[in-house]
Amino acid sequence: MIPAVGLTAVLAVSLLTLGIGVFGVRVARTTSDFYVASRSVGPVVNASAISGEYLSAASFLGAAGLILAHGADALWYPVGWTAGYLVLLVLVAAPLRRSGAYTLSDFAELRLESRAARKVSSVVVALIGVLYLLPQFQGAGITLRTLVGAPSWTGSVLVAGVVLVIVLSGGMRSITVTQAFQYWLKLTALIVPAAVLLVHWHREGRTTSQELRVSDWVEPMQGEHATYLIYSLILATFLGTMGLPHVVARFYTNVDGRAARRTTLGVLGLLSAFYLIPTVYGVLGRLYSFHLVADGRTDAVVLELPSDVLHGFGADLLTGLLGAGAFAAFLSTSSGLAVSVAGVLSQDVLRGGSDPVRDFRRATALVVSLTLVLLAVSSGVPVARAVELAFAVAASTFCPLLLLGIWWRGLTAPGAIAGLVVGGGACTAAVVVALAGYEAPGLAGPLLAQPAAWTMPLSLFVMIGVSLATAGRRPASVMRTMVRLHTPEHLDVDRGTFDPERTVHPGESTARRDLR
């Protein structure tokens, strides 16, 4: 293939993203149409923005690669990534929006009335952020290598550089509009080549089960410990979504809890549409690009498929389009994630000086460079697997925190901190082992490869247990907080005003006893 097409596409997307990030798309209005300017972002735009930021390297490249390699079992990845929003919709979306929290640390502080819980949450946010950035940078390396044959690290460094410039130059001025645009760009970049390839395949008229090499490919529950591995994957993806820092930050743009629910519903629709396509690539890859399975380069199937099916300039164009979409995916997810994580880090962990802007820049540089270092020492697990490990950590930390925090008034700060530390620690240890490429013998193997099935309940029970043991330390205004989380905005009730700087007065604690 001609490298120029791919290279042009990647550079064009990078420059476009850079331009939008630095100069910004702003709603500019003069007095004539004032009333448009202050109208908030609607659920459709918000849903597109969440989907745009959420669809990462794992969705664009990884899912198809896993389907190509593992068949039916890998379908759980796209299903889980979508179904996570169902859990979010039913249990979390509206209360989270009503809390007014912009980050998960904000939520922890508000609900638990504890600075310590806030700090611990911030560390976990940073951890999840770095784990999630890792596969994005890795995917960029794969893409650039496939497109132009450059060494893997060039792509990773390119994405890291663009993200740094965007964030350091003022931090993505209008994230919502940019990310909403990204969803439609990614969808187009994936759906157009898929349609062309499908038409070509239909004209050729070849499909036999023998050619699909289906012996065990379409059969679910393949391999040792399949039941455990799949249920663990389901738990991680269904429950991990709510703990992703960049997803939570997007919910803030909704006007109220009701809009947050409608947005989540929209996300469910948009993601369901998007995730149909990786399956197409996986199946067509089985027909035309089977050599990738032997080479162990299944992550590249989306990018290589056009040149395996078609020939000439048409194939190059499709590959260029896919490369552009893939880069859009890395850049939007990475920059959104970097902004969220750097915000939390600069606020709670690095806060040294009086200059929040400088803290924010330092935090961004730290997050990006840490990810690059981790990428250099990790052993290159498949992209979708790496993303799933980040989901596992999120499911083992913030999922119990959010669920218990929203639905159980008994959660205390010591309980939450203990759960975050134990669940997050156990899961991170397993993830480190997985990233290092170590495969434990016997039963420990699957337990470490897919830790969510035991770390998530562990964290949940530690939170419940320690909270019950420290029942005396329930936050002073937990009842007010609950009212705030669960009452629709238009109702006129006392929602309380928790202020961390203010100590609890004796009078207030009597009021709390009365409430109980």
Binding site: A28, V41, D106, Y252, L435
Partner: protein, 388 residues
């Protein structure tokens, strides 16, 4: 490689910790340090005042300080915290605290016990005095109430009283800050009301429809400004009131006033103190553009900036001597710029000292006022019930 890193890190941490804790001096030095450390640990809960939670945490550290078998804190009506054995003596402690509260003097009581294992025979009760009145008692339960332990209990009770006094000061101060905030409640300027009404009056004969429209705008604006509840409002609501305000001003200025709003949609749901932006825009119109002869422009811009958003109000008017703005913000200058200093004080009182207004100006060079608002402030909520 990663595993190697995971092994090296804890070892390094251990080495660093050992280095820090080397050379702590003699046994006496260490004892002093330990006592200071315990005293510090008591201070923190006590600074929250005397409650069940704080007392429970405080007695845990008070017991090693007093070297008594059991220590209790009470508020005169109930035992709030107890550390050590013999909780069956709660009633004895309650009678003791009642007597102390009556005459405000320390006392030592004998207590009888049927439990052969219990070694507690005396309870030393010392009043805790804050602002001249007894607010509670500190009790040490010992086998023999010797002079040293009685003396020690007195010293510790004095120290606890000091901490409680500080807690009272803290509480008063935060109450004061709240009262201050309430006193600073947002107000619309009388100038504006006067100007708006005279402008509308001018239209009543020439263009009655326009006058009616403007009067309705004015009604909407005043309804927003006079609302009784809530300290915070979404930026989108605040912008809407600014639009109403500017519509009225444009009726007065005609084509001389151009307005541009550049608002990133992400910022619209951020909670800002109610009427915090309007006075800044009014300042730009009144002090920047009104004295200017030619046409002028106001640009209101809001962009996300990390975990904050940055709102700027810029005009190309006559500008101002920076020293005068400084004086206005310090509250020394005349009442003319009260709006700006009021917003500045409210912002700093609400979000902290870092969130004051930043004003860039020079004579003839226009004015730019920049304010930062955190996206999340625990107290900010649309319908919170802080009475205004």
């Amino acid at each position: 490689m990663l595993i190697a890193a995971m092994l090296v890190l804890p070892v390094a941490a251990l080495w660093w910790w050992a280095r820090r804790h080397r050379g702590m001096g003699s046994e006496a030095d260490r004892a002093t340090l330990r006592t200071l450390h315990e005293a510090n640990r008591v201070a923190r809960p006590l600074r929250e005042g005397l409650t069940e939670t704080s007392a429970e945490r405080a007695v845990r550290s008070l017991r090693p300080l007093l070297t008594a078998p059991a220590v209790a804190l009470s508020n005169g009506h109930a035992v709030l915290g107890w550390d050590g054995p013999g909780e069956s003596h709660r009633d004895d402690v309650l009678t003791a605290t009642a007597s102390v509260l009556e005459d405000g003097r320390a006392r030592v009581d004998r207590i009888s016990c049927t439990d052969p294992a219990c070694r507690l025979r005396d309870v030393i009760s010392v009043p805790l005095v804050v602002g001249g009145s007894v607010v509670g008692t500190l009790h040490a339960l010992v086998t023999v109430a010797g002079a040293p332990v009685i003396k020690a209990t007195h010293e510790v009770a004095d120290w606890v009283s000091g901490q409680l006094e500080l807690a009272e000061v803290d509480r008063r101060r935060s109450g004061l800050a709240e009262a201050e905030l309430r006193a600073l409640r947002a107000q619309i300027s009388p100038h504006f009301i006067y100007n708006a009404l005279t402008t509308i009056a001018a239209f009543v004969r020439t263009d009655p429809d326009r006058a009616r429209e403007l009067l309705l705008e004015f009604a909407d604006f005043t309804r927003y400004s006079f609302r009784r509840r809530g300290e915070y409002t979404a930026l989108s609501d605040e912008l809407q009131s600014i639009e109403q305000y500017l519509t009225l001003e444009r009726a007065r200025f005609g084509d001389r006033l151009r307005v541009t709003l550049r608002i990133a949609p992400d910022c619209l749901t951020v909670m800002v103190p109610y009427l915090s932006l309007q006075p800044v825009v009014e300042n730009a119109v009144r002090h920047g553009l009104e004295p200017k002869s030619g046409p002028g422009e106001v640009i209101v811009e809001a962009v996300p900036d990390g975990v904050d958003i940055r709102i700027s109000v810029e005009d190309n008017g006559v500008g101002e001597d920076p020293r005068r703005i400084q004086e206005a913000l310090d509250g020394v200058a005349q009442a003319d710029s009260v709006g700006l200093s009021n917003v500045d004080m409210r912002m700093r009182a609400t979000f902290g000292e870092h969130y004051g207004l930043v004003v860039e100006t020079a004579p003839g060079a226009g004015t730019k006022v920049v304010m930062r608002v955190p996206r999340f402030a625990p107290r900010a909520h649309p319908n919170d019930n802080v009475a205004l």
